[in-house]
Subunit: 192 residues, 2 copies
């Protein structure tokens, strides 16, 4: 009985996410966004909503991707400790090679203080990140891969919050060796 939506919404969200990621919420204008999404603002307001709603969808999309990654890693074939070490090394590579830091971290500091919806999405994401680490650490302890004289939930909390500072360090000093040394120390703390 009527026309269908012409543009690919998933692709448009992906493009908008990249703009927000690079420029931040306040730094990205609606023209920046619609240019990247290759749609007219009327289409945006008809289907997705206003700027805030678009941002929510983008942050949600970002955290969905992370969730998939964690699930895939947990279902992998390697041992818990090997999975953890792999993850850390890849995280280091992302920090060193990526140029836009982490969107979850940036958004936490820029908007989570004022926007409750964003805060809630990021809190849930952080909780999943914690759970991912907690699972691996406690399994590694059970299997005797790492020593079991610390509380897994404390270690997961502690390590989970550690990443953020590495991003900041790399923004300010652009020193890959610094990050790699901290990661090595991080792993050594776990294993010995």
């Amino acid at each position: 009985m009527a026309r269908n939506v012409e543009f690919n919404e998933a692709l448009a969200i992906q493009k908008a996410m990249e703009v927000f990621w690079k420029k931040g919420y306040n730094g990205a204008s609606l023209r920046d966004l619609t240019d990247a999404m290759q749609i007219n603002s009327s289409s945006l307001y008809n289907t997705i909503g206003d700027k805030q709603e678009l941002f929510v969808r983008c942050v949600q999309h970002y955290t969905d991707l992370r969730k998939l990654d964690w699930e895939k890693r947990l279902n992998g074939e390697k041992s818990p400790f090997a999975t953890l070490v792999d993850y850390i090394h890849e995280a280091v590579n992302i920090i060193i090679n990526g140029e836009d830091s982490c969107m979850a971290v940036k958004s936490a500091f820029e908007v989570a203080t004022n926007d409750q919806r964003i805060k809630q999405i990021l809190a849930a994401d952080d909780q999943r990140s914690y759970q991912f680490l907690h699972d691996l650490i406690s399994k590694a302890m059970e299997q005797g891969e790492i020593r079991a004289d610390e509380d897994p939930s404390l270690l997961a909390d502690y390590f989970n919050s550690t990443w953020t500072g590495w991003y900041e360090s790399y923004i300010l000093h652009k020193d890959p060796l610094k990050i790699k040394r901290m990661a090595a120390f991080f792993i050594k703390q776990l294993s010995k």
Copy 2:
């Protein structure tokens, strides 16, 4: 031969800093700023400059205050390790009680990626923070207050980047106990 500047520039910078601190660079409008500074925009542009210049001055002011604090602590009478532990506990209290996170961290993620002047100021600030920790840690090792089987520069780097994640954690979860537990673990790692 002529009139003097009427307003207190130092006080105006302080007020502007508080606005940027809370709202971020892009989130703070010039009206927000001049309202808080209680000056006309013409006075601002005559004496300090444009918005970017004002922000530079505010970030500089923020880091100057931190520098003074570190110097005062280094010149205190307590032992190196006691000074370090005091500092950590006060940092935890600031995270838990403050409501606007850390301006240096927020600015690093929002603008340091695009603005080289801000990046440079924050990198210098981070370097001083590192030096502060490095001084205390190496002195504590010399005096036998903590074990000396780790590289002080690595420990200083590692601990220096750890704070940032605590701020993020508190923004997302508002859980004081979580921060306190991580701080306690932090101190235990050093001392044992």
